[in-house]
């Protein structure tokens, strides 16, 4: 009962974010130099298509009515048409989601696990040499430009050692189905996942480290030490459990950064996901696609923060639902 109310309340909080993002989109298009219909239809559009776009967005109507139309359109899932393919932007975006999800999901999962393990490990002795060195390295990792790291991986593993493919998600002449195809995709995933993971793992090392170190200073940890639990049990069973809460919270907030990394990584590796779609749209100045991607990414991040809040509420009994 209470849970349902909480979820509904939290879902309602998605509305202002979505509204703000749509309004920003609308204002930017109108503020941008040049004719709105050309921005939305492309330089090369024929008069018939231009007229169709004017009609679609009501560009000859008063400003506020245009805004209202746009809000209703986007609200109903209509993100406009790509002027390259003349296909709905929403469908184009959805068709690219699986590839991006595979890339982002795998690297995020790996970096959270690896980062938490390393962070917990160095938090055993905050201030030790190991801690100082690993912490500084973690800072180094999230300072690496992900696209450059991608290039370096290509240079080393694809060009020099020829161990992994440098681009794409599958080989042109590779198997089309079955375990062979899965292996082929896994083979193609190694380098992009490695690049994306390396950049985000540093964040989780630092997060887990400070969370665990902080928990280790709490009174309830002194209690279990006094009871006689071994350092190992205290670390793994008690400290980590309590320290996971802040890690979960940040997970949602950081998704924006991870998606940014994904776009850049996909560009380097020609990974057929959203990032690649955005890159191609930029090259072709396909504004409706860039606008749609911005809305899609914003809603995704807002939704992820909602999910983290729910997970947090589920993990921490102190959060009264």
């Amino acid at each position: 009962m209470n849970l349902r109310r909480y979820v509904v309340l939290r879902l309602l909080q998605l509305v202002p974010v979505t509204l703000v993002v749509i309004i920003i989109n609308f204002l930017l298009v109108h503020l941008a130099p040049g004719d709105v219909s050309i921005i939305l239809a492309g330089d090369t559009a024929d008069p018939a298509y231009l007229a169709a776009i004017r009609e679609r967005y009501g560009l000859d109507r008063p400003f506020l009515e245009q805004l209202w139309r746009y809000l209703v359109q986007v609200g109903s899932g209509d993100l406009g048409l790509s002027f390259r393919s003349r296909e709905p932007v929403f469908a184009e975006i959805m068709s690219r989601v699986p590839a991006t999800l595979l890339l982002v999901g795998t690297s995020l999962g790996l970096s959270v696990i690896i980062g938490t393990v390393i962070g917990t490990w160095i938090a055993r002795r905050p201030g030790s040499t190991t801690d100082s060195v690993v912490s500084a390295l973690a800072v180094g990792l999230f300072s690496v430009p992900v696209f450059w790291l991608g290039l370096m991986l290509v240079l080393f593993f694809a060009v020099q050692l020829q161990l992994f493919p440098a681009m794409g998600m599958s080989s042109v002449d590779g198997p089309r189905e079955g375990p062979g195809r899965i292996l082929d995709i896994l083979h193609h995933m190694v380098l992009p996942v490695l690049a994306l993971m390396t950049v985000s793992v540093g964040q989780y090392v630092r997060l887990a480290r400070s969370a665990v170190a902080e928990v280790m200073g709490e009174s309830y940890i002194t209690t279990v030490r006094a009871i006689g639990f071994s350092d190992r049990t205290i670390m793994m069973h008690y400290a980590l459990r309590n320290a996971l809460l802040p890690v979960v919270t940040v997970l949602g907030l950081q998704l924006g950064l991870v998606l940014t990394g994904a776009v850049l990584t996909e560009t380097v590796f020609s990974w057929p996901g959203l990032g690649r779609l955005i890159y191609d749209a930029i090259l072709a100045r396909d504004t409706p696609v860039i606008m749609g991607a911005f809305i899609a990414m914003s809603v995704t991040v807002a939704f992820a923060s909602l999910v983290t809040d729910l997970v947090y509420a589920f993990l921490d009994p102190r959060v009264a639902l």
Partner: protein
């Protein structure tokens, strides 16, 4: 030695990153005058690998990579400075307004901040640049417009905590306008974390610009490291140096910004340093080499000294404490906060904070040596104390809200503790035992499934006591068990402890600042001041004829209900701070009867009666 080296290594990271930023600034500023080729000149041969002519090689147009790197530094720094400056200014203004005025303004602004925090910056920047063109000004403005909520949120929190400060209230009372109060009194005092975060924003801005340039959205007329990598990407196989060097430059600069922010954060945040402070314990002593325990008492502490390592140096929290406790006996340890009484309890069970260590003294617990000369006694690498914790000696911690794990039901905390020391016990047995101790202390069994926050303060403290009784220990150390509770519950719980003590033949150490609480429960009292026991005697004796001036002052501060109504006498002066050193008596500066001798030489420990000793030159009876 080791800590000093560590501090240095941390500072080394800070210094190196500061040096990298300074060098980048110098290179960027002096780029036009450095003996480098024109960054856009195409005189040299294309694709020339790094060598004496061109240290970092040339690109596909024959442009010198090193020269372009130097000019690229200019752009990176401009982006870093301008974007983070704009973002910080917007953040400081909106954050202070939101925090200062509160109410509807705050509700509106903080909702806006929350919404903007969720918008992924890079995609908005991408859209802005795609619509308005790849001009550097737009890029910087776009970065600022998407990163200001960070600073705003920090500033809002700062203002919220600053606006109730006395000097701010005073300024308002003196007639300063809202604007003046904010600008003169609040904002300058709240800027430190904004500056820290700005260095991190700088790193973020540099990376964002590089990312944009890499996607081909950078300013076409500027030399940018991101743009260089974008160009190099297509020549990766024939001229890898084109992309390797600008990437390294980016990495170094961004990492330096981040490490600088980190270092500043640590310098400004004592909490972080406290977490990092650690004391190196003395090496453990094998049980074979240790003097065997004196038979008889359940606890024998002799000349125990324990120190904390702090930024400012070492302080001796427990300084030469000795006492014995017989089975079934109870001892109250009394003193002001900071006198070392809680540290004493932690030292006995060896659960000190990481920055604390015992430096001297012997402790026997239950006839087993656990500490010799400040060294933990071990048998085959296992501390002797390990098997005694909770089975021979248990502890009741103050403030059960923090001493119980907030995310585990109390029943589970009890059963886990039970099964730890009874490895064969089933979950059912553990649950039965937990229920039994709940009965003992008067907590309803239904509460086994509750989380600590669902219980009242008194109930929580009872759960803590139940936890301590799980394994029927011989000794219970109760550290301020009732401090956080209201007087009625305090009395109830102390009464229950007293009953349990009699029923189970427990030995009890009650650590408290409250003479009254100790008088009710304990047979003997030890008064602690500045890490030392200044007076120890049977409870009655202490109350009837206190010998140490400090004990007298403590007793005088005790309000009475039965006697004539009087204002409790306070103790003048500040408590002895454990960092100070004095050749004389530590209490002398606050003592009303101190003589010259007290200030110049250490007082002796004198026996003033049966089982009654005082650390004083002039114990009450012999005062001249």
């Amino acid at each position: 030695m080791v800590p000093a080296l560590l501090a240095l290594s941390r500072r080394a990271a800070f210094l190196i990153s500061a040096a990298i930023v300074v060098v980048t600034v110098i290179v960027a500023v002096t780029a036009p005058w450095l003996p480098l080729p024109d960054p856009n000149g195409m005189e040299a041969a294309p694709y020339e690998p790094p060598g004496p002519g061109h240290w970092l090689g040339t690109d596909n147009y024959g442009r010198d990579v090193l020269a372009r790197l130097a000019w690229g530094a200019q752009l990176a720094l401009i982006v870093a400075l301008v974007s983070s400056a704009i973002a910080s200014v917007i953040g400081v203004i909106l954050g202070s307004i939101s925090g200062y005025f509160g109410g509807t303004v705050d509700a509106l602004l903080s909702r806006t901040i929350d919404v903007f925090l969720l918008i992924p910056s890079f995609f908005l920047v991408l859209l802005i640049v795609a619509l308005f063109g790849s001009r550097l000004e737009f890029t910087m403005l776009a970065i600022a417009l998407t990163t200001w909520p960070r600073s705003a949120r920090i500033m809002r929190a700062q203002v919220l905590s600053l606006k109730s400060r006395v000097y701010v209230q005073a300024a308002r009372a003196a007639g300063a306008s809202h604007g003046r109060t904010l600008v003169r009194h609040i904002i300058p005092n709240g800027l430190a974390p904004i500056i820290t975060d700005a260095t991190i924003l700088m790193g973020l801005a540099v990376l964002t610009e590089a990312g944009l340039s890499f996607l081909g959205l950078g300013d076409q007329n500027a030399v940018s490291w991101g743009r260089m990598i974008f160009d190099g990407q297509r020549q990766l196989r024939i001229a890898p140096w084109m992309s390797i060097f600008p990437g390294i430059a980016l990495l170094l600069l961004v990492a330096s910004f981040n490490l600088l922010g980190d270092g500043l954060n640590e310098a400004l945040n004592p909490q972080l340093r406290r977490l990092a402070a650690r004391a190196t314990p003395k090496p453990p002593m094998p049980v074979g080499e240790a003097r065997p325990a004196t038979p008889g008492p359940i606890l024998d502490v002799s000349n125990l000294r324990m120190s904390y390592r702090l930024d400012s140096g070492q302080i001796m929290a427990v300084d030469g404490v000795s006492f014995r406790l017989q089975q079934g006996e109870s001892l109250g340890v009394v003193g002001e906060s900071g006198c070392g009484k809680s540290s004493l309890g932690a030292a006995i069970l060896q659960v000190m904070a990481p920055n604390a260590t015992t430096v001297a003294g012997d402790v026997d617990l239950g006839g087993i040596p656990i500490l010799r000369d400040g060294r933990r006694v071990v048998s085959h690498d296992r501390e002797m104390i390990a098997d005694l914790r909770w089975t021979t000696a248990a502890m009741i911690f103050q403030s059960a809200m923090n001493a119980l794990n907030p995310v585990i039901p109390v029943g589970a905390q009890l059963t886990e503790a039970y099964r730890l020391h009874r490895p064969g016990a089933s979950h059912k047995e553990a649950l039965a035992r937990a229920a039994a101790v709940f009965d003992l202390i008067g907590v309803p069994r239904e509460r086994l499934g509750s989380y600590p926050h669902e219980l009242s303060g008194g109930m929580r403290q009872r759960v803590m006591i139940a936890l301590s009784l799980l394994h029927e220990p011989k000794l219970v150390i109760a550290d301020e068990p009732t401090t956080a509770l209201d007087v009625l519950i305090q009395d109830q719980i102390l009464g229950e402890l007293d009953t349990l003590k009699r029923q189970m033949g427990l030995s009890l150490i009650l650590i408290s600042h409250d003479m009254g609480a100790v008088a009710e429960t304990c047979e003997r009292v030890a008064v602690m001041y500045a890490g030392e026991i200044v007076e120890m005697a049977p409870t009655e004796t202490v109350f009837r004829s206190p010998q140490h001036p400090y004990t007298k002052a403590l007793l005088a501060a005790l309000p009475t209900v039965s006697g004539p109504c009087r204002v409790p006498a306070g103790l003048p002066g500040e408590p002895f701070s454990a960092g100070e050193t004095t050749p004389g008596c530590r209490f002398a500066p606050r003592c009303s009867v101190a003589q010259d001798l007290c200030r110049s030489s250490r007082p002796p420990r004198v026996a003033v009666g049966a089982g009654h000793e005082a650390l004083c030159h002039f114990p009450a009876g012999s005062a001249a």
